[in-house]
Amino acid sequence: MSEPILKAEHLGITFGGLKAVSDFNMTINKGELVGLIGPNGAGKTTVFNLLTGVYQPTEGAFYLDGKKMNGKKTYQVVRAGIARTFQNIRLFKQMTVEENVLVAFNESFTYKMGGAIFRTPRFWKQENDMHAKAIDLLHIFGLEGLANTEAANLPYGAQRKLEIARALATGMKLLLLDEPAAGMNPTETEDLLNCINTIRDRFGIAILLIEHDMSLVMNVCQRIQVLDYGRTIASGLPEEIANNPQVISAYLGADDDTESEEAN
């Protein structure tokens, strides 16, 4: 079998005396959709921040396509091929929908400052090519009609989609989705999930998905890993996870008093 897209080994981070995440291991293969779940404050978003270079791990290492990613800055990790979306949507609000995507294409441009200033033929060719590519990408999400709308004026569901489109535009191999369905109604959620499946099939990328909604995760993920208090408490196929007593206790509150404080 070929090299996994992402491999995390004993990844961990400590804030002062608090172990936010410890001994996090994960392997994601090409085309796989893996879920990362856990109660509030379990460290899911911290894992995302570790994998995107926002935080530097205090222990362990992670590899993208076999290349070690520790110590890289966010923009370097993104250029290497890990892109993400955010729990609370972060769009470039005063820019148009198309510009949002074009920003992420930035690294695909090769013209330099001189080209921009003198408006060389290369400048026009690349700008036109990228415009076409951006429209193509927006088309997948059904946003092409809104290309010239300011991002801040999009409806909520469309903003979520635009964020994913922007992440795709970076040309990544691994997409990290942080609660993409948060705040959506069931129809919007379904629409979004279709979208996720489409892009996974079409671009052949791997996806790591954080979601609170267990039933939703069970439907789409091929494998699931469960975090609680920064530790992995379970990992496996959706059916195994659903019946795992530890997982159930973490979500619903344990009978014994070990983890009663934050149980719900």
């Binding site: 995107t52 993104v78 955010f86 005063q94 920003v103 930035n106 441009f109 992440a167």
Partner: protein, 355 residues
């Protein structure tokens, strides 16, 4: 999309024609002796203000980082240019006046640019109010250092005494040359802002974290913009030095910087054409009000307050005036959008200056 509207090439031509017409008007009024030396001086000051304000707008409006030290860079440019000019004369370098003016001015810009990078790297680690305060601090440091520097007319850094003005700088600034420098500055800033660089910079303004997550090297882009702003501030300083012929360190003071920040906010953050209009307007306004002598600053402040109450986003907001777009609207009212390149809005905005 393009049919019955101006093509990209035509838009450029329209802009060039606009600028040339503007230059023609300028030359006309100057050559026929319609305007006094006093008015020519105001036009010169307007040009300097336009360069300062548009370049500052790149940092404040487009990059979204509030800096209060722009006049520090202007002063660095002015003093470097002045000293280089003196050095050239002292060494008996013979050169065409215009050429020497350009050389000295660009050198001033480059020195300011170097300082922009040096100060930008530590300062831009901070955001918002903190960045404003640290740049304010750097501006004051520049002022105090220049005040005491021996070559700039001071008593030496260890003496701590206020020096005198630096005088006797060759007054080579020619209104026509300065006009074209201003045009080039504005055009360059537009080209920068309407390219992948400009998009990356705007992305940083809108959401820094998301910009990083889209693969943009934030530190690099910030320092780049800061350096470009400092470069043009230095150019403005160089022109100023060779126009006035004498320099005092007070030009680096924070009050001066705030004056330019007011112009940026007044014209609309992120709108370069807005900056041009407000720089020209706010330079002319106090002069027009000279008749009221004692009350003129009062009126000036009232105007500022009123504009901020009724147009808090500035005169232009983040809207850019575009001559080709205006022409499209007049001649092809059906078409919704102008051609893609509406670069040199300079033309019309500068017309306001001369009317």
């Amino acid at each position: 999309m393009k049919k019955s509207m101006l093509s990209i090439k035509q838009s450029y031509i329209v802009c060039v024609i606009g600028i040339v017409v503007l230059f023609g008007i300028l030359m006309g009024v100057c050559e026929t002796g319609m305007v006094s030396l006093y008015v020519k001086g105001i036009i010169m000051t307007c040009c300097i203000a336009v360069i300062m304000t548009t370049s500052l707008n790149l940092t404040i409006g487009v990059l979204g980082q509030l800096t209060l030290g722009c006049c520090g860079f202007e002063a660095i440019g002015a003093y470097s240019a002045a000293l280089l000019s003196k050095l050239l004369i002292a060494n008996g370098v013979v050169m065409n006046d215009t050429l020497r003016f350009l050389l000295v001015t660009v050198a001033g810009g480059l020195v300011a640019c170097v300082f922009g990078v040096l100060i930008g790297i530590p300062a831009l680690r901070l955001h918002g109010d903190y960045l404003a305060i640290i740049t304010l601090g750097f501006g004051e440091i520049i002022r105090v250092v220049i005040q005491n520097l021996k070559i700039a007319g001071g008593e030496g850094l260890d003496k701590g005494q206020q020096g005198q003005a630096l005088i006797g700088i060759d007054r080579l600034a020619n209104l026509y040359v300065v006009f074209w420098i201003t045009v080039i500055t504005v055009v360059l800033l537009f080209m920068f802002a309407r390219s992948r660089y400009g998009r990356a910079v705007k992305a940083i303004r809108d959401d820094e974290i998301a910009a990083g997550a889209s693969g943009i090297n934030i530190t690099y882009m910030k320092v780049l913009v800061f350096a470009i702003s400092a470069f043009f501030a230095g150019i403005a300083g160089g022109i100023f030095a060779q126009y006035i012929g004498a320099l005092t360190p007070s030009m680096a003071g924070w009050l001066q910087s705030i004056n330019y920040v007011i112009m940026v906010v007044f014209g609309g953050m992120g709108s370069l054409t807005g900056s041009i209009v407000s720089a020209v307007g706010l330079t002319i306004l106090p002069e027009l009000l000279r008749a009221f002598s004692d009350y003129r600053m009062l009126v000036y402040s009232v105007v500022l307050v009123l504009i901020m109450i009724f147009r808090p986003q500035g005169i232009f907001g983040n809207w850019e005036f575009s001559l080709p777009k205006a022409i499209n609207r007049i001649f092809y009212p059906k078409g919704k959008k102008g051609a893609k390149a509406d670069t040199t809005e300079t033309a019309e905005a500068k017309e306001a200056k001369h009317e």
